[in-house]
């Protein structure tokens, strides 16, 4: 289950930011997770609940924005319908993913004296 290794990277990153900003307790993490990122939000939450104990994230909440996938033509910007063949119906080019594969740490809310 790779959600555990994602959580390990996440907590490392938060620890690093806390050290840089002299932060202590983390209250909330805001993440953006695409539906085509390969990360299951429920599994990620379970992994976080297990791993946050005795780290700087102990007691912290995960606030996750999920992002629906969207595809468009790179040349004429036409958007494609969900489930359609990934090729522009106008100019025939392969579509490009516009959003939906995000695995992003957006923001940390923590107790910190200096930002």
């Amino acid at each position: 289950m790779h959600e555990y290794s994602i959580v390990a990277s996440l907590i490392d990153r938060v620890q690093h930011e806390a050290a840089v900003h002299g932060g202590s307790r983390v209250h909330r993490l805001h993440l953006k997770i695409g539906e085509l990122s390969g990360v299951e939000v429920d599994l990620l939450k379970t992994a976080f609940d297990t791993f946050r104990e005795r780290t700087i994230c102990d007691g912290a909440e995960l606030a996750i924005d999920t992002v629906a996938p969207a595809w468009a033509c790179p040349a004429c910007n036409q958007c494609l319908a969900a489930g359609a063949v990934l090729r522009c119906s106008t100019c025939g080019r392969p579509a490009r993913m516009v959003q939906g594969d995000e695995i992003i740490l957006e923001r940390i809310e923590m107790e910190a004296p200096d930002v």
């Binding site: 994602i6 390969g38 063949v85 579509a95 740490l105 809310e109």
Partner: protein, 252 residues
């Protein structure tokens, strides 16, 4: 003000990060990529379900490329060295990355294997990932291309069920095609499924058993190899990017 726990602490501050959680892996993958580019080697991340025929395709590739291309491989294996043994026997210089319980390779594991790899003069370097259709696609390893094996015994709907893997693929190898006469496998259905999840969908049909399609696959690989002019002198390639390691690098 903290809205979560109502503790009233006025010093809750938002810290903007806006970065990929796997940015460390991305950086390590970028480092691996400069190793591969420095060596003028084409690196392929070979993924697919357990038993899809990854090792068998490489064995067939070695047979077809014998005397023409120098091949290398690392195989991610949970516990054994079986795949590396098979590949070495087939003439591919190979080593194992023992992953233990990990279900995918990451860039750090590949980097370590690279620095202990017994040969620096390969034309193509295959990274046989752990058999898994989910998470190997999430981790960039520094490869030039992702190739996904899908065997005809797995069913035509796999691309729709595992879109992330196929979306990241540069090529799909439909493997074990010698078995098609014994199955109800509809090649048109898998092509249609791929077209809905893989931009610029490209699929080659191969059989490691009969060797069918292996020439087309070799051709696909040859087309992606860096031009000879881009291959710098080998002796300087390795440390061209000046990084520190905890171990020495004698010429092997």
């Amino acid at each position: 003000m903290c809205e979560t726990c109502g503790c009233g602490d006025p010093e809750i501050v938002p810290i903007e990060v806006q970065e990929r959680i796997l940015s460390d892996n991305d950086a390590q993958a970028g480092h691996n990529r400069s190793h591969f580019e420095g060596l003028g080697v084409l690196a392929i991340n070979l993924m697919g379900s357990p038993g899809a025929g990854k090792t068998a395709v490489l064995e067939a590739t070695a047979k077809a490329a014998a005397g023409r291309l120098k091949l290398g491989a690392v195989s991610g294996d949970l516990a054994t060295e079986r795949d590396a043994d098979r590949l070495n026997a087939a003439g591919i210089v190979s080593s194992t990355i023992t992953t233990g319980s990990a279900c995918h390779l990451d860039a750090r594991l590949v980097h370590h294997a690279l620095h202990h790899f017994p040969s620096n003069d390969r034309d193509i370097f295959f990274i046989e990932n752990v058999g898994n259709l989910v998470c190997p696609a999430i981790y960039d390893l520094g490869q030039a291309a992702n190739v996904v094996t899908l065997s005809v015994t797995e069913g035509e709907d796999k691309p729709l069920k595992y879109p992330v893997m196929f979306q990241k693929a540069d090529l799909v190898l439909l493997t074990k095609t010698d078995l098609i006469p014994h199955l109800d496998f509809d090649v048109g259905a898998v092509e249609d499924a791929l077209a809905r999840v893989m931009p610029g969908a490209r699929m080659l049909k191969v059989s490691a058993r009969t060797g069918d399609g292996i020439d087309a696959w070799l051709h696909w690989l040859q087309e992606r190899r860096p031009e000879p002019a881009e291959r710098p002198p080998k002796a300087h390639a390795h440390h061209g990017h000046g990084h520190q390691h905890g171990h020495s690098h004698e010429q092997r």
